[in-house]
Symmetry: D2
Subunit: 434 residues, 4 copies
């Protein structure tokens, strides 16, 4: 990566005094200058591939691009549900209103669908009253959807509504579409800022150290693992299989495993485990059950693709639809024990939708309001085609192009996986290259 790939685009020069300069009774805040940057490698001996690389620090600018009284903002949520969506929506409306005095904020319904020409779902004005209590509820008051729409068509809708500031909250697909939209806007030289708040319950976005909803997902998952443990111990040779989210990264599975303390096998996409053979999961289970009577398996949905292959189908966001590794494991274990004439009682848990739709825990809730805060400051300063990142505890403005399509994964040599191995006692060499 080159340093200039981390340079944030700007709609134009910042000539307006920020209202924060005189906010709250003569008080002013720590403004951040564009030149303030956070190192990619924060140690005294940076890795060669990080040398010279840094992120623009996010936060309020003393001079801003938009005159607040001319701003007409819009917010949309796209992709799957994730705890905290309403917190982000609420935060954006509140920050725009409270610090900048922006009064016109549209909620776009059902993701990009709400920006199409003949949408059935017209935008919904978002007032302070309307967003006041929404953070107590899971999901998104705007609705969400998958799939892209034509950038030109969406720009026309925005122009009809007079929108000059768009906040998109969504995952990789959403950011990709937002990036295309921003590029098309740039091509047309329109003064419309596009700022993305990255959403991934899997916590696997590159340059986003932590993503909102993840803490909540782990908390709920831990509760399910406790139930799975109870079920496994409740029957002779009881085996519980819990499938958790994680298409490309087992971050939720690994963290839930640590939080729970009850998992015996944590299976993640990053480390393909052997199923058959002397060293395979089945043989391990057959050895374990006569001694310990039970086993709990926590499997990320993207794990074991070497065993089952993908389904060849894609969802509307373009994500590959995987075959269900949880059901596959259930059947494989049942068949194996039957073949060896041993009793086994398998319980399968698939709590995905319950995890996604829960209201955010406090840590996520606060993090969401921070993200919203920084997104608003970025937009007001005329930054565009930008994602709000979080790097070593500092919020950053990162060009969308630098984030899109890059996934963060569990490092099998790092402390997270080391902790998983000691928590589960599972074989440490599984999935490693010989």
């Amino acid at each position: 990566m080159q340093a200039d790939e981390l340079t944030v685009k700007q709609l134009g020069p910042c000539a307006v005094d920020s209202p924060l300069m005189r906010a709250a009774g003569g008080w002013n805040f720590d403004f951040i200058g564009d030149e303030r940057r956070v190192l990619m490698d924060i140690t005294t001996q940076p890795r060669p591939d990080c040398e010279g690389l840094s992120f623009e620090q996010a936060g309020p600018r003393r001079k801003i691009f938009f005159d607040p009284k001319n701003v007409r903002a819009a917010i949309l949520t796209a992709g799957g549900l994730c705890p905290g969506l309403n917190d982000v929506i609420r935060g954006i409306v509140m920050e725009l209103h409270y610090w900048y005095g922006v009064e016109v904020v549209y909620g776009i319904r059902y993701g990009y669908q709400g920006l199409t020409r003949d949408t059935q779902w017209p935008p919904r004005p978002l007032t302070m009253d309307e967003v006041e209590d929404i953070q107590a509820h899971g999901g998104t008051i705007l609705g969400s959807s998958r799939g892209r729409r034509d950038s030109g068509e969406m720009i026309e809708t925005m122009q009809q509504l007079g929108i000059n500031m768009l906040f998109t909250i969504g995952g990789d697909g959403t950011s990709r579409a937002a990036h295309e939209l921003a590029c098309e806007i740039e091509k047309r030289s329109l003064p419309i800022a596009v700022v993305s708040i990255p959403k991934t319950i899997d916590n696997d976005i590159q340059f986003v150290y932590r993503s909102f909803g993840f803490a909540t997902a782990v908390e709920v998952s831990k509760g399910v693992l406790t139930c799975a443990h109870v079920e496994a111990k409740g029957a002779p040779h009881g085996v519980s299989i819990v499938k958790l989210m994680g298409r490309d990264s087992g971050a939720i599975a690994a963290h839930a495993t640590l939080a729970s303390g009850d998992v015996n096998y944590c299976l993640v996409p990053e480390l393909p485990f052997p199923l058959e053979g002397e060293d395979g999961l089945l043989a391990h289970l057959r050895a374990r059950l006569p001694q310990r009577n039970h086993a709990v398996i926590c499997v990320a949905e993207g794990a074991g693709q070497h065993l089952i292959g993908d389904s060849g189908r894609r969802d509307a966001s373009g994500n590959i639809k995987y075959n269900d590794i949880g059901l596959f494991l259930r059947d494989a274990i049942a068949a194996d024990f039957k073949q060896h004439s041993e009793e086994v009682n398998i319980k399968y848990f698939d709590p995905g939708y319950t995890i996604r739709s829960t209201a955010a825990v406090s840590a996520d809730s606060i993090f969401c309001s921070d993200l919203a805060d920084h997104a608003v400051h970025a937009a007001m300063a005329g930054k565009t085609d930008v994602v709000i990142g979080y790097w070593h505890g500092v919020f950053t403005n990162v060009p969308m192009a630098a984030v899109v399509g890059r996934k963060r994964r569990i490092d099998p040599r790092g402390k997270l996986w080391r902790a998983v191995l000691s928590a589960t006692g599972q074989p440490g060499h599984w999935g490693l290259k010989a």
Copy 2:
């Protein structure tokens, strides 16, 4: 039913003074005499089929059958998990110890399997220390299993261990087996009491007004329905289907529907709903979604058998294995909307194991300790072949034969179903005979 069918069997005369007479510093309690009976119909104008019928009130007797110092008790849990099992186990151990001074209590492992001749799982002595905190955990510390075992063989095991008091905690199958066991014991004229605490998360046992674990099941189910509502509202034309327990009775589905307030269709075994046709569920959904954008369906696992039939298989307890009505509905709705070229986004929730394995809420926890208390008093008084019932707020001793095989069901003309109709707004005539 004849009055004598409600007469409880007795191992022999009660000649021992109850330790409760001098318990707790000279104090004694309200003893209950065997002649104290609770009316089956508690109104001034009893229904003809209840006339003359009453239940023996449970509780401590002044004179008891067993000399506490000779008692060797055993407890077993059988069938599926249910919130509160550990509470009942703990309660029995504590009451035996505290009020009667019984010191020997065995925990039989994995249901009736633990009473077979060559069981891999020998009984585990249950001390006060061991049961002290178990109520904080779901499941059963003893493990459970399905299926019957030979009564003679189990009696031999009990005799080897010197057990003269057996508490079984389980559902209809367990009670049936306990009844057989008690009959065989009677045939052999052995002084062994068999007392059953009825377990049915579905709350469908006849003469058991309320069963333990039900309040917890409804509480957890309500949480899942909230998530289902969030998911349904989160996508265009979102439909959430939540399958809840309830093979023969929709009690959990109905109560969770009332507690939630978010359900639009509550489908139960007692009222077969139409799927196709002008008045069918599919037509209703197709009319609803364009207007309300979302729908939540709560379906009991035993509902819709007229549509899918059973699988022809039975589990180890002898229960019919139903085809999955939830998956069936999911596919039927998807196909129907596809055929009508309308968008629909279906989310399916199957939280059964999570509901079963949760620790009991306080109300259930207290109810469990009450059940345990009355089971211990019944056993000490030499009652046998008996189930602890709960009738209009009073604990009762009911002969097993009167309970086994009888199910309680939702009355479509009663207040529960009336409340469901007003909560959902679903068609009130569904499932009624014309």
Copy 3:
């Protein structure tokens, strides 16, 4: 008590067909006739003082007094908060709307204050939309207040608004005021029904077998007791004191003690415990701590009045303001240990407001909607000066005069207290007459 004291007043003859007769597509429900009554003593050998006594069963009548299209209903909540208030409000609005088609329902603000002549808080119309989600929140959307108001003045306000049906939700003071109001209405021969839903978090209303909010209060209290246990064990000679609600009855303290399993001393108003002396609480604590290192005390706010006396003050509802037994115990224990030169670390918990203001658990929530349902049926049938009772699992219509001023208390010889003694191991003779 005489049988006619349990006869319910009626505004006039019921000449209107209930809409439930043709509700829900030709279907009709189990109507209840006024002659249907529930026995006060439900056993085969009733106690002499219950002989001949019974309660009118509540529920929908085939013929009703009010023509639904002329009904203008009002709801008010008074006294302290209690989990479930919003559930009752919602239930009343929904049942009036759904089954009877009543469209005008006023929410009276801040209890009887909202019916005074020059109230600052005008009534708020309650629509279905407004009450849709209120059960998810604790407290009351109407606000509450203590204190009585002039009946005549309130009647005038009601007449100005055209209100002919008033639902009051409140405790003993509220019911007393409602009774006075109903009497004044009767005196003036006005066709206004007054129906009360009894509220007492302490669960101590006579003829009300179970009161709403109690299950929730116990659940929250149990959580606090768990914390108290942790704190007590966390310090050398740790003592935790938890004060729970219960002015006249220790029902919450006793049930929370059972649900928790962690309490060593449960102190209730019904059984005055000795503090000083060889057999007193202090001596017991001094003996216990060197052995067990910790102790948890759960004390009802009305306990120990023989030790501290009341404060001589009354709150706006006329309730005696007690001195704080929790603080008294804290200081007494600290002084005693200091005097004996022994270490003690006391932690004091006073969670009252947190308990009151929590949203209802499912069991309470459903119970509230049942209460609302029966209150609506009673009012529509022209019953007045009436409280909705709950007797052995059946909802009843009880004249207010029969309920007001009568408190239910823990029976020291009954099963609840017996269970508390075995759960705590505390001296069983405390508080008993020699």
Copy 4:
């Protein structure tokens, strides 16, 4: 601060191969070298006072000081309770066992009291079995206490037990005592490592970016604030005051305010608010209540010391005992409204012990196991007089002397306080120097 103040002490050279080099089936992990350091200021333009300053990165070393088979470790917890203590204890035992094969771990009872000569509480061996499930419970299985003990005496006790590795988990006072102990050990040239895991529920330790238990404290506090909001809205002119922990820093109050969204005034030690006068809290309340009917005040225990002064007393840890700002505010507001003849209904919440004694949420739980992991690696590598820090997401080894006595505080110009102002709408100039 000088760079060498951040240099960590070492018991001696590291000559033993770490077992992690051959752990888990031939696999080895990312070892960290002592030269790897994290910058204090992680931006491209460091602040002058951070120039040249960095922290040693914590983690496993390839070569270690102790031969695992000779290690006898001990763990103690001191000071007030904090969510996560049991997680840390469990983590230390597990990491010592799993990665290094250390089998002897003592649990010291009740803090430093357990290391005194004639302690009543002998140490308790900690096995894997004993710590298996302790993380599910709040508090500390070891007990805790306040106050220092003589270093020499404690060293003798350790020597008698053969302890050569001490983990202390505690706050500023505990670290100070651990530092003295380590200095005394150094003076005596003993090969005993002393490693401290910093505990402060207030999250106010310098160089410790985030402290364990904080996320849990905020989560529980948020729940109490919700109740406070309900109570405030439930009465005419309702005011709820919630006192939260925070002697020197309002971090919990500020974060809970953000998480809740229901707070109108957040009062913290860092910003002394005016009480009286036109711009004071009382005048603000009097203006607010007639309009909004309610107010929620969240106050850190250390706030308002300019108004009430300290009590002049100190607890056993040497912390100043503050007068109770919550009670002071309650009385001041009541008096002020009385004087102005306006109604006010105040509810006071003091949930401190409930917050401290709750089991850790998942995020804290995982963080605790990370802290334990790094503490174990530090101790095995012979590092001593060291605290495990957390800096911009990286675990660090920090000399105790650099941490003790330094507190982190809310920056009134930073993003946290900015967010509090927009969440509450309270005056932004309160507490600022003119």
